[in-house]
């Protein structure tokens, strides 16, 4: 695999020591979402302000009177992290312009779950991307509303059983296909969009750094394995993330100024079954449903490859 080469460049001991989120938070064992949050924090460093949506990451990190946050952090509500971050960005900008606070580069990070991003927060996010605020939005996609007890979202994949898309006698769990949130971000013509996964930590951090550097909005969509909601042993979280990439279910790519680029090339995709079979949420799937998913994944992956090729030809 191509990106494993990065390991030579980024030995683990070279990782920044600064943490935005302190240990002692209340995330479940094996939570890859909080791991992703930690990596994003490391990539951004201390000169960062976080606007966080309601959801698992808010609840595990901020019970009064304690906090896990070592950077300034604000939570207002579920659907408005992008709007709050817009305000923080605009506020810091005007105060620096008027000389009321020292001028320096401060990263403004908005973060939300898949529900807070692709469902209830989509409008606020679209508005913030369209207005062109200089901020980074990270969606931590664990493919359901985990904080409220594993209800389906528009980001829940086809076939997954959740508490509101249960696998029953006539329904195979979620009956809709996962909303393509990164594409929606791309459609806003923002300078930087990427997908990432904490199973590929260096790739994730590199992307977050890049995203923070661009002038204007950036969007990073992070597949965040949730052992609790996916019915998966916690020690398989990292493995599941890698399988999502290796099966082509969650390809890692970047879209810089509209140009697509694969970050991890998988010469031969593994069958989706390798990914599905280790998760309890897909336990009920029959061979024909698995085949249906395989077809869709192959088709979507090829579509992405076509965009990558087109981008290469255009440049």
């Amino acid at each position: 695999m191509k990106n494993l080469g990065n390991l030579n460049v980024y030995a683990v001991r070279l990782l920044p020591k600064t943490e935005a989120i302190a240990p002692g938070h209340r995330a479940c064992q094996g939570c890859a979402e909080v791991l992703a949050v930690r990596l994003v924090g490391k990539a951004l460093g201390r000169d960062t302000v976080v606007a966080c949506a309601t959801g698992c990451m808010e609840i595990i990190s901020s019970p009064l009177p304690t906090t896990s946050w070592r950077v300034p952090w604000i939570h207002v509500a579920f659907e408005n992290a992008a709007a709050v971050a817009s305000g923080v960005e605009a506020g810091l900008k005007v105060l620096m312009r008027k000389g009321r606070i020292p001028k320096k580069k401060i990263n403004v990070l908005a973060m939300g779950g898949d529900g807070g991003t692709s469902d209830i927060g989509l409008q606020a996010l679209s508005g913030a991307l369209e207005r062109g605020h200089n901020f980074l939005y990270v969606c931590y996609d664990n493919e359901a509303y985990m904080n409220t007890g594993i209800q389906r979202s528009s980001s829940t994949p086809f076939g997954a059983a959740t508490t509101t898309s249960p696998a029953g006698k006539v329904k195979p769990g979620q009956v809709t296909w996962k909303k393509n949130m990164p594409e929606i971000a791309v459609a806003h013509n923002i300078p930087y969009v990427a997908t990432a996964c904490p199973s590929y930590p260096f790739d994730l951090m590199e992307k977050v750094k890049k995203a923070a550097k661009v002038d204007g909005p950036a969007y990073v969509h992070v597949l965040s394995v949730c052992p609790t909601g996916w019915r998966l042993p916690p020690d398989l979280s990292i493995r599941a993330g890698r399988l999502a990439v290796e099966t082509g279910i969650f390809p890692l790519y970047e879209v810089e100024e509209g140009r697509y680029k694969l970050s991890v090339e998988v010469p031969k995709l593994r069958p989706v079954e390798d990914y599905l079979k280790i998760q309890g949420r897909f336990r009920h799937l029959t061979p024909d449903l698995i085949e249906k998913i395989q077809e869709r994944v192959t088709k979507d992956y090829n579509k992405l490859l076509a965009k990558v090729r087109f981008s290469e030809e255009m440049s």
Binding site: P65, V71, G87, V88, R100, G127
Partner: protein, 391 residues
């Protein structure tokens, strides 16, 4: 010297915001608030006001952006009406809990449905318990003055709470009135730049908006309640300071021809002007009637209210919103409750009037007065009556 110029009240309100030198404005257009945002965006576009104008995609985002700008340490203004307020309500409650001193002008308009763009107080009553300071202006000058003073009150370190200035839609927002606009120098002396207690600063990280478990939630609410109540003397102090500066003094409760009055009308907002005209005529006709205007709705000014009630036998409350199936309109219900501990409290007759722009002329006050006398005489004063319904 400050000058008195004829201008639309919305322009006067925008001038107050410009003179306050706000840092950030986030708003979404809705009738009858639109003229204010339009003027403010012009100021920003012409460089007459150095502020970030954030043209959000909804009122929910307007209030959310305001939370962000205010938490960053920027003086923040927004304005809305009716459906806009309803849409942002979730965040309106959070802004006060987070002690973000945002100033909002609410151009009062009725809530749908049926859809109506006209004026009443159903929008503000929706957020009665939102924890903001809520005041009502009666004319253009008052809106200008209350808005300027609102920033100083909201940002005062003894307060640090958001402030809502209620301005009746159309009746005030769209009329031209003589307004005295202060000069920048005077305003700057009165209103120094915003100095937040806490702000989102990487050099001094704070966590804002943490969640509370049952063991702490009640304490946070008690604190919030005490905070709002404790703002009352500060409001009075700053209004006094503003009065010394301009000669225009404001009080939480104001009366008109209340001396010797047996019956008082109770109004909020622009209805006070018509009501005083009605009182004038009725006084000439020998009726012992006066007017009590509640300027400050939250925190409710009990002492001032009780003082105004001394010796009064009857109250006629003009409610401009309905609490369907409830014991009274929102204002009358509160007033009855405030009177409960008073010895020999006045009797309260509640009329719901002036919904969605329905005109309430001086003659209507007379008619309500007459009707109230009948009801009092027959002992039928419970509940409320929707006044002026067409048969």
């Amino acid at each position: 010297m400050p000058k008195r110029v004829g201008m639309e009240v919305s322009i006067g309100a925008s001038e107050a915001v410009r003179l306050a030198n706000v840092d950030a404005i986030a708003a979404y257009p809705i009738t009858p608030q639109t003229h204010i945002v339009e003027h403010l965006s012009e100021f920003v576009a012409n460089g007459e006001l150095d502020a970030e104008f954030i043209p959000v995609e909804s009122e929910h985002s307007a209030m959310s952006v305001c939370c962000g700008t205010s938490a960053a340490g920027a003086r923040t203004f927004t304005c809305t009406s009716s459906q806009g307020l309803a849409l942002m309500t979730e965040i309106v409650f959070i802004a006060s809990a987070m002690q973000l001193p945002i100033v909002m002008i609410l151009a009062n308009r009725s809530l749908s449905g049926p859809l109506s763009i006209w004026n009443d107080h159903t929008d503000v009553m929706l957020v009665r318990d939102c924890g903001w300071i809520q005041a009502f202006g009666e004319n253009g000058q008052e809106i200008f003055d209350l808005t300027l003073a609102a920033f100083k009150i909201a940002e005062d370190h003894r307060v640090v709470l958001p402030f809502m200035v209620n301005m009746d839609g159309f009746i005030l927002s769209h009329v031209i009135e003589p307004i005295e606009i202060l000069d920048q120098e005077t305003v700057d002396k009165f209103l120094p730049p915003f100095k937040p207690v806490y702000r989102l600063d990487p050099d001094n990280p704070v966590t804002m908006g943490a969640f509370a478990m049952p063991d702490l939630y009640t304490e946070t609410k008690k604190y919030q309640d005490e905070r709002l109540k404790a703002s009352l003397p500060v409001i009075e102090e700053i209004w006094k300071e503003y009065g010394d500066l301009t000669g225009r003094y404001y009080h939480p409760v104001e009366t008109y021809k209340a001396e010797g009055a047996k019956t008082l009308f109770i109004t909020m907002g622009s209805f006070g002007e018509t009501a005083s005209t009605a009182v004038d005529t009725m006084r000439e006709e020998g009726e012992a009637v006066g007017l009590c205007k509640i300027r400050l709705w939250r925190p409710f000014p009990y002492e001032a209210f009780w003082n105004a009630m001394k010796g009064v036998e009857n109250l006629i409350v003009i409610d401009r919103a309905t609490s369907y199936g409830g014991p009274g309109g929102p204002v009358a219900s509160e007033i009855r409750s405030a009177l409960y501990t008073m010895e020999n409290p006045p009797k309260v007759v509640d009329f719901i009037a002036g919904l969605a722009g329905r005109d309430v002329a001086p003659g209507d006050y007379k008619a309500m007065y007459k009707r109230a006398q009948e009801r009092i005489a027959s002992g039928d004063i419970a509940g409320y009556e929707i006044y002026g319904v067409r048969e």
